[in-house]
């Protein structure tokens, strides 16, 4: 197995606000291998976007990346200088965001904005950059790119703007593309088109993709491995099929149950009780326990780490089969702990 192209280890990003310290990202670790698509799934407030921004080095005061390492091709990005990170941004790791309507500068043409990114990272002339911009716009499926390159953003629809932003992001053939809710603001039909474009580009350029979303349906169709985030932590990690077949963490299960499915029984939708906790005042013990139908006394006091519960699967729940939590004989109506023993630490 080759080394991962990106290794995030124990990342912690905190925001110092008037209301207290917010631990937006609280010990997150994951890997990204070359050519694969990894999903990060979670609701608003789970820390998924902050994770991405931390990787890109875009965290501004009052936030700070305080702990952990972000290893890109073996080198810790957090050790790089500001100008060093700028080289990486857009050149080797690119990001596209959720709001195509407002993410383009209204007073410059789309062509100018794409060309300028190209010239930032590559030593080419203005006309060469412009020609490349036209090419890229064609690649992402913008019709009549030759003439539209001189149009202003307000002359494009939302879907077209997102394509332009994708063109901008891949213009320098980055190794990694981070897509933060790229289609949340778009219609479902446009959404499918955007993902087609992304898939095509991924193949052409051999990019690795981190897809951030709250939409399980999107993840099911595009990612190979999935991280589920809750309250600043990863609470479950698995290959996409395994995750959907048999989610181990109660939160993941709750997510699955709360979305409608085309097949399967027409049971009632069950939203997860309660709401996302205030990041400045997280619950004690397991962050999810106030909303968890399987929570026990143990969960109130013990904060479970992400741990392998099966080869290739990890979960952060004492009641997940195979977890081997501190109290094997869990009381209450929890899932029975695996009989084939786990560790007996803590």
């Amino acid at each position: 197995m080759t080394d991962p192209i990106l290794e995030v280890e124990d990342l912690a990003t905190r925001f110092y606000t008037d209301e207290g310290v917010v631990e937006a990202v609280d010990g997150v670790s994951f890997d990204l291998y070359e050519g694969e698509t990894v999903g990060i799934v979670g609701e608003s407030g789970s820390g998924k976007s902050v994770t991405a921004m931390s990787i890109m080095g875009l965290i501004d005061s009052p936030g700070r990346v305080e702990e952990g390492t972000i290893r890109y091709r073996g080198e810790d990005l957090l050790e790089r200088s500001e100008s060093g990170i700028r080289e990486i941004r857009g050149g080797e790791i690119s990001m596209i965001f959720q709001d195509p309507m407002t993410s383009l500068n209204p007073v410059y043409t789309v062509g100018e904005q794409i060309s300028r990114v190209i010239r930032q990272h590559r030593d080419v002339s203005q006309s060469e950059a412009r020609a490349r911009a036209v090419e890229l716009m064609g690649d992402v499926g913008i019709p009549e790119a030759e003439s539209r390159v001189d149009n202003y953003p307000h002359q494009f629809s939302g879907g077209m703007r997102q394509r332009a932003l994708i063109a901008m992001a891949i213009s320098c053939e980055p190794e990694i593309l981070i897509a933060d809710e790229p289609t949340t603001a778009l219609d479902v039909t446009i959404e499918a088109q955007i993902f087609d474009v992304l898939e095509e580009l991924q193949e052409t350029y051999g990019m690795s993709v981190i897809l951030i979303t709250h939409d399980l349906g999107v993840v099911a169709g595009t990612a190979e491995r999935v991280n589920v985030m809750y309250a600043g932590r990863i609470v479950e990690r698995a290959d996409v099929d395994a995750l959907f077949e048999n989610p181990r963490h109660p939160y993941t299960r709750g997510l699955m149950r709360s979305i409608p499915r085309l097949h399967g029984s027409a049971d009632r939708l069950e939203p997860i009780a309660g709401s996302v906790p205030n990041p400045a005042a997280l619950p004690s013990g397991c962050s999810f326990h106030p909303r968890c139908p399987h929570a026990t006394e143990l969960c109130r006091g013990y904060d479970p780490e992400l741990r392998e519960v099966e080869p290739g699967r990890e979960a952060a729940c004492v009641h997940a089969r195979g977890y081997g939590g501190p109290d094997e004989r869990a009381t209450g109506s929890g899932e029975p702990v695996a009989a084939d023993g786990g560790d007996d630490d803590e």
Partner: protein
């Protein structure tokens, strides 16, 4: 609609406004109790004299006839003859003599003010809440709170009296005759006139810059690896400047007001001081002409600013969607 159509539309809209303004101007003078002649002669002269002069000046004709004649002449550039300021001289000549000074004063003030205010606003926004921001904000706040005529007086007191600089003695040497002398004469007046205007622009620039810097497209530029300085100067500033341009139109009115006061304080022979003199001597033709002139300039300046705004913002220029 295209820029040309927009300009035309605004021009057409300006016509009734200007007509209305001319009515106001005309009505103003003729509304005075006793009529303009009484205003001119003052309350002490006899009624017969008033009647006699009225007939002489054609002021006994019906009002609408007078208005039409006046307007007709005015459009052709004939604003009548001065009665008391400089008897017998055409009003247009009197204004033309004094106009260059006022124009120089106003334009210089505008340029200097913007040269200071725009960078100050940008820096203030970029370094929000740091000490330089606080200092700049306090300076700007003071700038808009100090009346220009008082500032002029204080400046005279400090520089002319305490330090004995023989500036601010009144009079004007055109820059093409003696640029150094000209600068000396205008230094204090430009500071006086430009301060409030500069403060206004700086505050606006800061506010717009802060707003722009929080926009998503700034995040995009940073995410693509563009250096901060370029993001501020290219991406943000161009957006922030657009609304600031409109403030220039508003500020022009302020400058005109200020010019009157500044010229009075520094005894500069410009159009502002002429206005005050005409008021004092009740030369109604001059008063009428000046107020009309000011209104016309102001209306056209605002129009130009609107057109400029439409030109700068591509969202207005190109109305097509996809």
């Amino acid at each position: 609609m295209s820029l040309a159509r927009y300009t035309l539309k605004r021009l057409l809209l300006a016509v009734p406004v200007l007509l209305g303004a001319s009515v106001v101007v005309f009505g103003l003078v003729h509304l005075a109790p006793g009529g303009p002649v009484r205003v001119m002669l003052g309350p002490l002269q006899s009624e017969e004299l008033v009647e006699q002069i009225r007939a002489e000046l054609g002021l006994d004709r019906p009002l609408y006839v007078q208005y039409a004649t006046w307007l007709f002449d005015a459009v052709q550039g004939d604003l009548g003859t001065s009665w008391t300021v400089q008897q017998g001289t055409p009003v247009t000549t009197i204004i033309a003599e004094r106009l260059p000074l006022t124009v120089e004063l106003t334009v210089l003030s505008m340029i200097v003010a913007n040269l200071i205010a725009i960078p100050a606003g940008i820096i203030s926004a970029v370094r929000q809440d740091e000490s330089i921001d606080h200092a700049a904000r306090i300076a700007a706040l003071s700038g808009i709170s100090i009346p220009d005529f008082w500032l002029g007086i204080i400046l005279i007191m400090i520089f002319a009296v305490q330090f004995g600089f023989p500036w601010a003695t009144g009079g004007w040497t055109p820059p093409w005759v003696d640029p150094v002398e000209n600068l000396k004469q205008l230094l204090l007046p430009v500071i006086t006139l430009g301060t409030a205007y500069s403060a206004l622009i700086a505050r606006m620039m800061r506010s717009e810059m802060l707003d722009t810097l929080s926009q998503d497209y700034i995040r995009t530029a940073k995410a693509m690896g563009i250096p901060s300085r370029e993001v501020i100067l290219k991406d943000a500033t161009k957006n922030a400047l657009i609304p600031v341009v409109t403030v220039i139109g508003v500020g022009l009115g302020q400058l005109m007001n200020g010019a009157i006061l500044t010229e009075t304080v520094f005894s500069l022979p410009g159009v502002g001081r002429l206005f005050i003199q005409a008021i004092a001597r009740r030369d109604y033709r001059v008063i009428q002409a000046l107020v009309l002139f000011v209104a016309v300039v102001f209306v056209f300046a605002n129009l130009a600013v609107d057109v400029l705004y439409a030109y700068l913002d591509p969202r207005i220029r190109y109305e097509e969607g996809t």
